[in-house]
């Protein structure tokens, strides 16, 4: 069964009616493949939310930026507000799959699918985003850190819909990036991804490092972040943070890369991000 809705209310009614088996679909770039390969059941009903216009678009508030869950990767890749304030989101969305995927795939889908390799997971965690979850019973708001529970596991409950993502506007002096490692130059699933932010006011006053594809869910490395505070991103400080990150991650071997490769890339990514920031801000 395939039900298409055009409002949030209709979507919530459909989810309530169809029960726990119902699968929400927007761009379908994950759902359709998982139904084909059997990791999702082919017989469960689909609720298509892709045309709910109120859930799409980026808006700038006084303290935060709201990204509609149905904003496509192309929307994010080309959005001027995000380019100005949250470039790591722009970078992450522009590395998701190929252009075809970016045209239809949404940030909400990327987040709710909760693949360990999801590109947007790392910037969401790094930027301390809040996820807005709506159900017929009301609305609740969760920190990204509380939303991702494990590989393909989230805090989303039956009947709930992720409608928007609110991201605090970064403090002045912030510099951020998302760097993705894949085998080829495009069309890749992340082998390792790093979303990094440094707030620099003479020295580093805050740092955030969030990785994807090195654990069952996106993860931050608080020890490494703290270790950079007060430094000028000197080589030794970067190396120390890199070592802390390498010992914090718990990657696996899969057909894309080995755990040891992923682990050896982690400190190199930290160095690349920190050196890029240093050359611009410090």
């Amino acid at each position: 069964m395939f039900r298409a809705v055009t409002t949030v209310d209709a979507a919530l009614r459909a989810l309530d009616e169809l029960g726990p088996g119902a699968q929400v679909i927007a761009g379908g770039t994950d759902v359709m493949i998982q139904r084909m390969t059997g990791s999702l059941s082919k017989s469960e009903p689909l609720v298509h939310i892709g045309r709910i216009s109120e859930m799409r678009g980026v808006s700038l508030g006084s303290e935060s930026i709201t990204i509609g869950a149905l904003s496509t990767h192309r929307d994010i890749r080309t959005d001027p507000i995000l380019a100005a304030h949250l470039p790591s989101f722009v970078q992450a969305s522009s590395t998701v799959g190929g252009w075809q995927t970016q045209e239809v795939g949404t940030i909400g889908g990327n987040v709710c699918n909760a693949s360990p390799a999801a590109d947007l997971g790392a910037p969401l965690l790094m930027a301390q985003a809040t996820l807005v979850l709506v159900s017929s019973g009301g609305e609740r708001r969760l920190q990204a850190a509380d939303f991702f529970l494990g590989r393909r596991q989230t805090a989303l409950e039956f009947g709930e819909l992720l409608t928007a993502i609110e991201v605090p506007i970064p403090a002045p002096g912030s510099w951020e990036t998302y760097i993705k490692i894949g085998r080829r130059s495009a069309m890749e699933v992340a082998i390792v991804g790093l979303a990094a932010r440094f707030v620099v006011d003479g020295a580093v006053s805050a740092a955030r490092l969030a990785f994807c594809s090195v654990a069952p869910r996106p993860m931050r490395v608080p020890d490494a972040e703290v270790s950079l505070v007060g430094t000028m991103l000197e080589d030794e400080a970067i190396a120390a943070a890199g070592r802390l990150c390498a010992s914090a991650v718990s990657p696996i071997d899969d057909q894309r890369a080995t755990a040891s490769y992923r682990t050896s890339v982690v400190p190199r990514l930290v160095r690349q991000a920190a050196e890029a920031c240093r050359s611009e801000l410090v």
Partner: protein, 760 residues
């Protein structure tokens, strides 16, 4: 007007771009049934239960075939080692065990799922080392009872080795003893999947006596031979009609699914279509074999290579296919390009419990070149000589002989190719700087000599029709090469020539689009046909023009008085006149390339003895490695390639660019590894084909030394541009990292490890 060398669009371009061309998978007939195979989920074992009763009773199911319904004998390309369906024993994951024929693909799928199959699994022989170890389990305990195909020369085989080539001249050990320095390297390469766009398919019908098979295939006459062999019938009872080919690269030279569709057709009396899904296509494809190559050389401090030991172990998979032939390439390459005083060569194709391997553009040449050229760098390092200078010092010259005794009369082209590469990419100035490197590699390659034919007809509108069983596999060899050669023979525009698709009933034997042979061999067949036909053509025109035949020539679609185009008669008019004087103007020509002289005593088991119409190649790669993720970026790629003569420059450039692209994939990303006989990468998503953004723009230097026999001087072009690519890139990565790159693909992990080792 000359069509030769013109950048004419290929004849099939518009139909392919518009989606009007019909490929094998598009072929359909009214009332056609659909078949599906049950393939072995186990790499090795014994079938203890195979129950198809439920499947056979399902609605919409017309037939279920197992070994019990199939011909009982074995068949094969050179060695008859392959059962129709696995009967008692399964030898690789993906081996066909049964087939369902049903009204729809879906019903066939459902019925296959309801077949009860139980296999008592055994430990698979999953690599060559294991297969050749003393006391190894034999993949084919009955190997000695298997027959080779009629006409095949005998060759040694035993144990798990389906083919063994040995060349062990006297004095090799003595030469090593006299060497200043001895260096030994071992290289390991993975399988490479041909990854064509169109998955394999076949559609067959049966009229009570003969089978007709529609298929996109590089070698329709081999399908005829092999289906007849598998069914145990005379070959003329099989007709093969070729459709447009959605990519092939060697994977469509031997049987694919044709014999199954044929069996389904004769069991049901209906047309039966069978199509692989992508995953089963990848898993069961006869990919380029994985191999282990050991090279040991003795050199003098002055740079001379005085001795070599070369051992090449090739994983043929569960059935031999063409791999016993491919062992010969080791002899043809181990002492070519660079002089080696004496060499011992052993090459084995080895049975394992993995999918059978087979032809892929450049076959074993790709990795033999990789091994030898990497080793050349190591030798140069060992004696402290510049890598390019070391090569030039040992470079073949005209008159030098390969290890098979074949003398190369035109090997001086190699030196020209090195010089031309140096002009555009000076060795001393290329690949310099941190984490950058340069590599160079060279190869001699053949033009496959096997037979072909073509019938050329002058139609009554002045157009030239060419009917040939030669196949257009995408290379342009037919759609550009043969077409423009025919146009050149009659001095008409390429647009005035049309070529029919293959049909083994109406066209004589053609050995298929392999080894760059089509433009050269079928071009010669067209030339021979045209030469015959022109005798009558000039005869008839001479009557129309009142001139002697020897005073006539062809120009711009007319027969003209030699030197005076104003006295002329259009070809169309001559064709019309022919109908009233002896019948239509049509002739058939045939050709096969005479084999060069070689020494039959050079090796034991030399099934593929020489390199006819050799061509010469030098590739240079410049790379940059990324210190963060270890990825290799090819920043510059230069090819100097001898082609004889360009029939269509765009065709030549396209083949070089494409060959390099496939070679870059082989060097950096692709590869099928198995764990316990099961491939770890099982879809195109994980397989890792290169993307357009990962492929450099190739700088091409085309050398033209026209071949004396023709056609218009053209030699083989399409196969060799893949041969030196992995070698050149690996040498460049080794230069950039200081590591001895011995394994393909050169994945980021290998590079990061090399950088770590260098830094520690």
């Amino acid at each position: 007007m000359t069509a030769i060398g013109a950048r004419s669009p290929r004849s099939d371009a518009e139909a392919k771009v518009r989606g009007l061309a019909n490929y094998g998978v598009d072929y359909s007939e009214t009332g056609m049934l659909h078949a599906r195979l049950l393939r072995s989920p186990a790499a090795a074992g014994r079938i203890t239960r195979l129950d198809v009763e439920v499947a056979g009773r399902m609605p919409g199911v017309y037939a279920v075939a197992t070994a019990a319904e199939a011909p009982p004998h074995r068949s094969g390309l050179i060695l008859m080692d392959t059962p129709f369906f696995a009967d008692d024993v399964v030898r690789y994951e993906g081996e066909p065990i049964a087939m369902v024929v049903a009204e729809s693909e879906r019903l066939a799928d459902d019925a296959v799922s309801s077949i009860v199959l139980e296999i008592e699994e055994s430990t698979p022989v999953s690599d060559v080392g294991q297969a050749l170890a003393p006391g190894a389990v034999l993949v084919h305990p009955d190997l000695e009872t298997y027959q080779s195909v009629p006409g095949a020369a005998p060759w040694p085989r035993s144990g798990n080795a389906g083919g063994i080539l040995t060349s062990d001249p006297e004095g090799v050990d003595g030469a090593f003893a006299a060497a200043d320095v001895v260096v030994e390297d071992v290289y390991v390469v993975p399988r490479q999947y041909q990854a064509y766009l169109e998955p394999k398919s076949a559609t067959a019908s049966y009229d009570g006596h003969r089978w007709t098979i529609h298929v996109s295939h590089q070698f329709p006459h081999n399908v005829r031979t092999r289906v007849a062999q598998a069914l145990g019938v005379e070959l003329s009872r099989v007709r093969v009609v070729g459709e447009h080919i959605g990519g092939a690269f060697g994977a469509r030279l031997d049987l694919g699914l044709e014999q199954f569709a044929a069996l389904g057709a004769s069991m049901t009396g209906r047309t039966v279509k069978l199509v692989n899904n992508r995953s089963e296509d990848l898993i069961s494809c006869m990919s380029r074999e994985n191999a282990t190559i050991r090279v040991r050389s003795g050199v003098m401090k002055d740079g001379r290579i005085v001795a070599r030991d070369f051992e090449c172990l090739m994983d043929g998979g569960a059935y031999a296919g063409d791999t016993p032939y491919l062992t010969s390439i080791a002899l043809l390459m181990a002492g070519s390009v660079y002089r080696v005083d004496t060499a011992r060569v052993v090459a084995k194709s080895v049975y394992t419990n993995t999918a059978p391997t087979g032809a892929f553009r450049g076959v074993s040449g790709t990795y033999i070149c990789f091994a030898i050229e990497r080793h050349m760098d190591q030798l140069a390092h060992a004696i402290g000589m510049d890598r390019r200078e070391f090569r030039l010092l040992n470079l073949f010259e005209s008159g030098d002989a390969m290890l098979n005794g074949q003398v190369l009369d035109d090997a001086d082209i190699l030196s020209e190719a090195f010089d031309r590469v140096e002009e555009v990419a000076p060795w001393a100035e290329t690949g310099t700087g941190m984490l950058r490197g340069v590599g160079i590699a060279s190869a001699i390659w053949l033009t496959n000599p096997l037979a072909g034919s073509a019938t050329v007809t002058l139609h009554e509108d002045g157009h030239i029709g060419v009917s040939t069983a030669a196949t257009e596999n995408g290379s342009g060899a037919v759609a550009m090469g043969v077409r423009q050669i025919a146009a050149g023979e009659f001095d008409v525009a390429a647009e005035d020539v049309f070529i029919t698709l293959p049909d083994t009933d109406s066209q004589a034997y053609d050995a298929g689009s392999q080894g760059s042979r089509t433009t050269h061999v079928v071009g010669m067949a067209v030339h021979n046909a045209a030469t015959q036909m022109k005798t009558r053509l000039f005869d008839i025109a001479s009557g129309l023009l009142n001139l002697l035949p020897e005073d006539l020539e062809l120009r711009g679609g007319n027969v003209c008085m030699r030197g005076d185009a104003s006295v002329s008669v259009p070809l169309a008019e001559v064709a019309g006149a022919a109908l009233r004087s002896g019948g239509p103007l049509s002739a058939t020509g045939s050709y096969s390339v005479p084999l060069p002289k070689w020494d039959p005593d050079a090796a034991d088991g030399l099934l593929f003895p020489a390199f006819p119409v050799p061509t010469y190649h030098v590739h240079l790669a410049e790379v940059e490695v990324d210190p963060v993720d270890g990825r290799v970026r090819v920043t510059r790629y230069v090819v100097a390639q001898e082609v004889g003569r360009m029939i269509n420059p765009d065709g030549v450039y396209g083949q070089i660019q494409g060959g390099v692209a496939q070679g870059v994939g082989y060097a950096l990303w692709e590869g099928l590894e198995n764990v316990e006989g099961r491939y770890t990468r099982r879809t195109l998503e994980s397989y890792g084909l290169p993307l357009a953004v990962d492929i450099p723009d190739v700088e091409m230097i085309v050398l033209e030394h026209p071949h004396e026999a023709g056609p218009f001087g053209a030699k083989g072009v399409a196969e060799p541009p893949i041969v030196p690519v992995a070698a050149a890139i690996a040498n460049a990565v080794a230069d950039a990292t200081g590591a001895n790159i011995v394994r393909l693909p050169i994945d980021p992990e290998q590079v990061l490890n090399a950088l770590d080792m260098r830094d520690s």
